[in-house]
């Protein structure tokens, strides 16, 4: 018996309780380190009216892009639209509510959300449309904007390896936003490539301690590459 065992046996169980209108935080940068099977499960569940917080919104046909196609997202909080044609079109048509947020501010909003800090001042975005309607304040002669933290009803996370207690490590740059959203979710669901026994991961190497993790599942991943670039 272990009260710390976070493993669940199916993706359906992993996202049990996800309802229409909820806020979902997703890890990943572009298609790197995205919880692709959990996203697919949201599609299967047909949950709608979602607010999704993620640096990007996948691409057409993969990652969070599939939830745009199914019109499951009402509002997107992201820093970059980039080459995602459907995202850009839904934004310009006003079909999708979008809160474009500077990448560093987005990361810090999530970090703050997980760390119990309700808001913080940053110089980022001062004097730009991002600061519209927000409190500004001067410190030591410089202007800063008050930005509020983000927390989510669910956080969906892609890790590399975890032990059954939910201690997670990430691989290379697939880390990105994952540990931040992991800490900022009321219910945090992590999918990994490998689950090991507690004690097998060196404690000092753990990126996300199990205290942040509610559910853990092992999946297989396509890991699609967005821009395959090779040395000349």
């Amino acid at each position: 018996m272990s009260g710390f065992d976070k493993c669940v046996s199916s993706y359906a169980e992993a996202l049990e309780g996800l309802e229409d209108g909820m806020t979902v935080l997703s890890g990943g940068f572009g298609l790197c380190g995205i919880p692709e099977n959990l996203i697919a499960e949201i599609k299967r569940r047909q949950t709608t009216d979602l607010t999704v917080v993620s640096n990007n919104c996948g691409v057409d046909g993969f990652g969070l892009g599939v939830l745009l196609e199914q019109r499951q997202i009402r509002k997107m909080i992201a820093s970059y639209v980039g080459e995602n044609a459907l995202f850009e079109r839904q934004l310009l048509d006003g079909e999708l509510e979008v809160e474009l947020t500077p990448q560093g501010t987005l990361a810090e909003k999530l970090r703050a959300g997980g760390a119990g800090i309700p808001a913080f001042y940053t110089a980022t975005g001062y004097g730009t449309p991002v600061a519209d309607g927000k409190e500004a304040r001067e410190f030591a002669g410089r202007h800063y904007v008050l930005e509020q933290a983000i927390v989510g009803d669910f956080a969906i996370v892609k890790g590399w390896k975890a032990d059954r207690f939910g201690n997670v490590i990430y691989r290379h740059t697939a880390q990105n936003f994952n540990p931040l959203v992991a800490a900022a979710g009321k219910v945090t669901v992590v999918e990994v490539e490998e689950i090991v026994e507690p004690g097998e991961i060196e404690p000092g190497q753990i990126h996300t301690p199990g205290i942040y993790v509610d559910r853990l599942i092992c999946g297989s991943f396509e890991k699609r590459i967005e821009k395959r670039t090779l040395r000349g």
Binding site: F29, G30, L31, C32, G33, N55, A78, S79, Y80, V81, G82, E88, L91, L92, L100, P102, Q103, G104, T105, L106, A107, E108, L110, R111, T122, A123, T124, G125, Y126, G127, T128, P129, V130, W160, R171, H172, T173, A174, Q175, N176, F177, N178, P179, L180, H207, K223, R224, I225, E226, K227, R228, T229, L230, R231, G232
Partner: protein, 218 residues
């Protein structure tokens, strides 16, 4: 002759110093990495969480978990470190990056920069650009001097939504290297074979032309 993209990257590379931590944006800035002077060491920061970006991978090294901020597959050099996005922007916002090079749609005489959207037409998003321009002391903007339609991108006042206010001091275009000072562009260097008159004609914002404007060494 206007500078090629490669020549622009070469010119920017002359601003590098040994031991610099540098963030290079997408496009022309990325090319700067190809012109780091022999014997000089710089560490490239990629804001998705990599300090010490190496060259593109070989087929064998290709790894979906190893990308740069432009989403291209990359490698990590010896001495690199990898971290989460909050840590990455802590080093950017905290002023720890020695040089930032990024592109823009428009720059104006007040040091304002616009680079992330054209209302009603195009929305790329700001990505990390707003944090980079707010956090860095030492920024070089690289862009063409004029748009494809011949409209100057060096303006009295930016017409597009801003990325940052009053944060740009140096601009390298395909025609000139300029400093922004006291509400004007100051022409510091001109591209080889480009006349001062041509630069004057293509600069919409107030331009100060010193008595001697040397030709750029590229």
């Amino acid at each position: 002759m206007a500078l090629t993209r490669e020549q622009m990257a070469q010119r920017v590379a002359r601003e590098l110093q040994d031991g610099f931590y540098v963030n290079l944006g997408i496009g022309i800035p990325t090319l700067v990495a190809n012109y780091v002077p022999e014997g000089m060491e710089v560490m490239l920061q990629s804001e998705n969480g990599l300090l010490g970006m190496g060259p593109y991978p070989t087929e064998d090294e290709l790894d979906a978990d190893m990308i740069n901020a432009g989403k291209q597959t990359v490698t990590a050099r010896i001495g690199a470190s990898i971290f989460d996005s909050a840590e990455s922007f802590a080093m950017i916002r905290g002023g720890h990056i020695d040089l930032t090079v990024l592109g823009a749609f428009e720059v104006d005489v007040q040091g304002n920069i616009a680079s992330w959207m054209v209302p009603g037409k195009l929305v790329k998003g700001m990505g990390g650009a707003m944090d980079l321009v707010a956090g860095a002391e030492n920024i070089i903007v690289t862009m063409t001097h004029a748009s494809k339609d011949g409209e100057s991108k060096l303006l009295e006042r930016c017409s597009l939504p801003l990325t940052g206010a009053g944060c740009i001091r140096r601009v390298l275009t395909d025609l000139a290297y300029l400093e922004i000072k006291d509400g004007a562009f100051v022409l510091r260097e001109r591209a080889p074979g480009v006349s001062v008159e041509e630069i004057v004609a293509r600069t919409a914002g107030r331009l100060v032309v010193p008595e001697h404007v040397p030709e750029m060494q590229v």
